[in-house]
């Protein structure tokens, strides 16, 4: 029963995001996509509520956290106006049907690999799991545990979402479940497989949306299984990043409701892992630069996209500062303390790490699809620019290590750069026409 309760808690997240996603403005999304988007919003708001409880010194309780998250969603719904309808019914077609089936196969393969103990992340045992377990016991972020003299591997400053949600599930189940924590990988991959075609429907035909989604799901499945991400923060991060980017690529991304939704998902990404902040900032900045328009409109759009991230991370850093635990992402030394002499290790280590992950196919195939899809449209700057920014951030981070970063790169680069295939695939949606036809 405990594993069921553990996973059941996460499956209930859509209910907490429902007060926002139930608004008519989100009727533009297919029902499945709407439920998954509500889960994403619910997860981000639950994590925020849990941080606020800690900041206020209030112990975590299931009902209180759920109520707070639902109230936040209801309050946010007051900002959303208007109604939108789903795109007209369109045949899925043979290609679309095959793509849906292929996405399903990828999710099943990910599930089988995870269930067989063939995709489990080392980091689950080193810090994600122990943190979640201790937080559940302490009914809050356990500062004494994080500050322990031999607990610095727990990365006290890491953003809170994954450990907090796992702790919530642990409180509900009565104990931490290592297996259920790993199953979040196929669960979230399955959620993406359900939602992504519906979210992309605004940017592509039904068949094309299903096909590009299959490409994204397959790439994430391969990286997840080959780079062992089950149970760590990478899959939640990919979940938020993929949905946020897909929303920003829609033709109706200028709608305040869509921007608010994307902003909440970007906040989820920034709350999931450190690199989520780099992604959120790059995506928001590029979106604002591409959209044009007046200063006042841009300021409003920036607020919708970035205030959720600023507020959630602000609460987290306020907690860290008031408990004298951390004040910044500073594990690797001062911000500009780089070690350029490690450049050769970084320049060779990253390609080697990618080559060791499914022979680099999950990175190369979406890139080839992008190249073959034709000249990228202007909107492709958004995913491609975000990919470039993420790569620059990763290189910048690796150059911070005082010692040779080769080993660190070998076990982390494939995971940290896992959003790249998704960004290439989504950029392909923005291609103007097939290169063959252009020729």
């Amino acid at each position: 029963m405990a594993p069921l309760a553990w996973l059941g808690t996460l499956i209930l997240l859509p209910l907490l995001g429902a007060p926002l996603l139930a608004r008519g403005a989100f009727g533009r999304f297919a029902p499945g996509a709407r439920v998954v988007l509500a889960a994403g919003v619910g997860a981000a708001l639950v994590s925020f509520a849990m941080t606020l409880f800690c900041l206020a010194g209030v112990p975590w309780g299931l009902a209180a956290i759920a109520l707070a998250a639902a109230l936040f969603a209801a309050a946010l719904s007051a900002l959303v106006r208007g109604k939108a309808t789903a795109p007209a019914q369109e045949r899925l077609g043979r290609t679309g049907a095959l793509a849906v089936a292929l996405s399903g196969v990828c999710v099943l393969v990910a599930l089988a690999a995870t269930d067989a103990g063939a995709a489990t992340s080392v980091d689950l045992f080193y810090f994600w799991g122990p943190k979640a377990q201790q937080f559940a016991i302490a009914r809050g972020v356990d500062t004494a545990f994080l500050a322990g003299p031999f607990h610095d591997y727990m990365h006290a400053y890491y953003p809170p979402l994954v450990a907090s949600l796992d702790a919530l599930a642990t409180i509900a189940a009565g104990r931490f479940s290592w297996t259920c924590a790993t199953l979040t990988f196929p669960l979230l991959l399955g959620a993406l497989a359900v939602a992504l075609p519906g979210v992309l429907r605004g940017a592509a035909s039904r068949s094309a949306a299903a096909a590009v989604s299959a490409l994204v799901i397959a790439a994430i499945a391969v990286i997840g299984v080959r780079a062992n991400i089950a149970g760590n923060g990478d899959m939640p991060l990919l979940f938020f990043e993929t949905l946020a980017m897909a929303l920003l690529l829609r033709p109706d991304a200028s709608d305040p409701a869509v921007q608010l939704l994307a902003g909440l998902l970007l906040a989820g990404a920034a709350s999931a892992k450190v690199e989520g902040l780099a992604f959120a900032l790059a995506a928001a900045a590029l979106f604002l630069a591409l959209r044009g328009g007046g200063l006042a409109d841009s300021a409003k759009a920036a607020a919708r996209l970035l205030i959720p991230t600023a507020v959630t991370l602000g609460a987290w850093f306020a907690f860290g500062a008031t408990r004298r635990l951390f004040t910044a992402y500073s594990e690797y030394g001062p911000f500009f303390a780089l070690h350029p002499d490690h450049w050769p290790s970084v320049a060779t280590g990253i390609p080697l790490a990618l080559a060791a992950t499914g022979r680099a196919l999950p990175y190369a195939v979406p890139l080839i699809c992008l190249a073959a899809a034709g000249r990228p449209g202007r909107r492709a700057i958004l995913p491609l620019g975000t990919a470039a920014a993420l790569l620059a951030f990763v290189v910048f981070t690796y150059l911070h290590l005082a010692t040779d970063p080769s080993q660190w790169i070998s076990y982390s680069a494939a995971r940290i750069l896992s959003p790249l295939p998704m960004l290439f695939a989504l950029a392909a949606v923005c291609a103007r026409r097939l290169s063959r036809e252009a020729a």
Partner: protein, 150 residues
């Protein structure tokens, strides 16, 4: 972005082909082992990703019944990397206990380990402390209670 319909259809087929390539080449070989091997339920979540860790995990799990839940213990092994891995796993597997590192990031910390009441000794032929009392032998190791420090 929309383009003519044949163009869109070709593009969709291209993406589908890409997904198929990813499904067939890098993903399927992972499941290409014998059916019997595939159907064997894993004893630990790391059975097929880190075989050595799986053994260490099972060792710690088999120690659990012999220790009080709030036990203060250290974990000893033949090398620093194994001791570090065992220590980190012990934090998760003994949430109410107090694991104390004998080595941490390769640095010896005997003063920490000396404060432990119990030692979990992984693949060691003889106890670290000859005066320690054997509590139980488990697969890949043994549990000892150390005499009180004078």
């Amino acid at each position: 972005m929309s383009g003519p319909a044949p163009d869109r259809a070709r593009r969709a087929r291209l993406w589908l082909a890409g997904a198929l390539v990813l499904c067939l080449f890098p993903l399927m070989p992972r499941l290409g082992r014998s059916l019997r091997e595939q159907l064997r339920l894993p004893a630990t979540p790391v059975d097929r990703t880190h075989g050595e860790w799986a053994r260490e995990w099972l060792f710690l799990e088999s120690c659990q019944p012999f220790l009080p839940s709030n036990a203060r213990f250290t974990v000893l092994a033949a090398d620093a990397d194994t001791e570090m891995a065992l220590y980190m796993m012990a934090i998760g597997l003994f949430p109410a206990g107090q694991p104390l590192p004998h080595t941490y990031y390769g640095m010896p910390h005997p003063e920490q380990a000396a404060a432990a009441q119990y030692s979990l000794e992984y693949r060691k032929s003889a106890p670290e402390n000859p005066r320690a009392r054997l509590i139980a032998r488990v697969p890949d190791g043994a549990i000892y209670e150390r005499p009180p420090t004078p």
